[in-house]
Subunit: 324 residues, 2 copies
């Protein structure tokens, strides 16, 4: 199911953004255009461009301007994914072969660098230093989040707060600024920009928690990559942390995780996942996701009633209802 | 020998830039600060910041402004090096362990991403969209150059023109805009900015040709990395291309390179290097470097006589006289 199916109102504009996205990476170098296009065509929900356009509806909506936010934000997201795949040693993403598996790690790394640079070129078209600064700061935070994720692999002693800080950097900030910058580029009032930022931040947090849950419950078909990837690479997510708080479960789960880390056959991803799936950790994680969504809706309520506002409500509900 | 030894006039300002460089990557995340600092402290000639400051001397020199060009340009250069080291599988650079060998490839990749993002944050302080745009375009070109280098590994059929285009993207453009943006940030006249760009471009081309020659003639001690790295990884440089144009040498050298590529012991890096060293390819490459330096000096001659102009002349001579 694609987010776009929720509403047709943005269809024409999103088609335009899609074309501009492809155009943005076309024509420099055959191999780079090919790898970049492969990455972009592998799909994705285009959540960030949608947020940019909806943010723009709270001011003087101008697609010609908004494209220079929407396209770079999707490019930055895609570049971070292609670098992620190098790290995660992932062979599929969104059901398609990753750049690193179809080509190689080196090519994936430079494809990411190229797409980042293209994103900066796009955003420089706007000539707005505030937007540039907000974007640069978010990119710094994203790279910190990525590094924290590596550092925290197999760290079963990390706190829930640590997890939340990491997904804030890794995921929520970019979604927050998608909403905010869309409104800013449309000259919406500061108050509105700030509320949209708050909405996006909270939706982004819920989104990542749901994504981490999906990795435990999804099938290769439903999530486009092998389930259990997080556990396999040692990415300790919220439901795992909550499961580890259960007195009866803690020791056997820890043993399993240590075994997976040791790679000596003494731990099984499927067994660890089964323990977490049937633990109260799932319900607790869902509850926290619900709380973030409630906060997102609360921020929306302070914005004027409009079609865009109700679309944002729909997206918040959608994010929180990803089925497994 | 350090470039700074050529002149003491910039010493105080360069010390300031050096401190700002360290500050720019400090404090976000322990590991990232550590890897970034390791990378920056490993040294380097700080050629790009020097060019920025000297460019600034052709307008209203203001170190407080120029730092936001000088620091990001050195950061971008450093980020490209750390990503290079992942690709090249290099264990040492400038005589020190690389980030990828001291930590690992994943950490090196995110260190690069982090430093790129930090560079953008720095440059956003200036709030000058023209500068932002020029920088973004140069970064796109750099990543294309990097990708071309991978694509052209062991491609002995490539033309000299192909090599020149590649080093233009990979090296010369960033040096060209270092000179240009320094002057631009100091509100120098457009004519001056353009001449400094031309100077930097030509010096950058000569610099890369000399660097490629050094890889054939240097010792581990003099160049801070094992010599012959280019040949080992299949990077076909200008002296190699010229050597391949020699009728008597072409076939044996090709056999050697094919053998190195095959990795079956039928080719020896040291033998290939010896063939090139004693070939007319060296003289031809030096001649081309001389021609770029002559063009650089020609551009300078059209600028007003000043201490900065004579420093730039000194640097051009220095670049072209790197001993081996």
């Amino acid at each position: 199911m694609k987010l776009l199916d929720i509403f047709g109102a943005l269809k024409k504009d999103m088609d335009y953004i899609e074309r501009q996205l492809y155009r943005s990476i076309d024509g420099d170098d055959e191999l780079l255009s090919e790898t970049s296009l492969h990455l972009l065509k592998a799909g994705g929900k285009r959540l960030r461009p949608i947020f940019v356009l909806l943010g723009g509806k709270f001011g003087n909506y101008d697609l010609q301007k908004l494209q220079y936010i929407a396209v770079p934000l999707e490019l930055i997201h895609s570049a971070s994914l292609v670098h992620d795949d190098v790290i995660d040693d992932a062979d599929t993403r969104r059901g398609k072969a990753t750049v690193k598996s179809k080509w190689d790690n080196r090519i994936a790394m430079y494809t990411g660098d190229y797409i980042y640079a293209k994103a900066l070129m796009q955003v420089s078209e706007l000539g707005n230093p505030y937007i540039h600064r907000i974007l640069a700061k978010a990119m710094v935070q994203m790279s910190i989040g990525e590094m924290e994720q590596i550092r925290d692999f197999f760290n079963t002693e990390q706190s829930v707060r640590n997890y939340l800080l990491r997904i804030r950097r890794k995921t929520a900030l970019l979604i927050a600024i998608s909403c905010q910058l869309g409104a800013m580029a449309a000259d919406a009032p500061d108050k509105v920009n700030a509320l949209l930022y708050r909405y996006g931040y909270n939706v982004g947090m819920a989104f990542q928690i749901r994504d981490d849950l999906l990795d435990l419950f999804g099938t290769e078909k439903s999530i486009g990559k092998p389930p259990g990837s997080d556990m396999r690479q040692g990415n300790i997510t919220l439901p795992v942390l909550f499961a580890l708080q259960e007195p009866g479960l803690r020791e056997p789960l820890l043993r399993e995780i240590r075994g997976i880390q040791a790679g000596d056959g003494s731990g099984e991803v499927s067994r660890a996942i089964e323990m977490i799936r049937t633990s109260p950790g799932i319900g607790k994680a869902e509850e926290l996701a619900d709380r973030f969504i409630a906060k997102a809706l609360e921020a929306l309520q302070q914005l004027p009633v409009s079609a865009a506002r109700s679309h944002l409500e729909d997206i918040a509900e959608f994010v929180n209802k990803r089925s497994y």
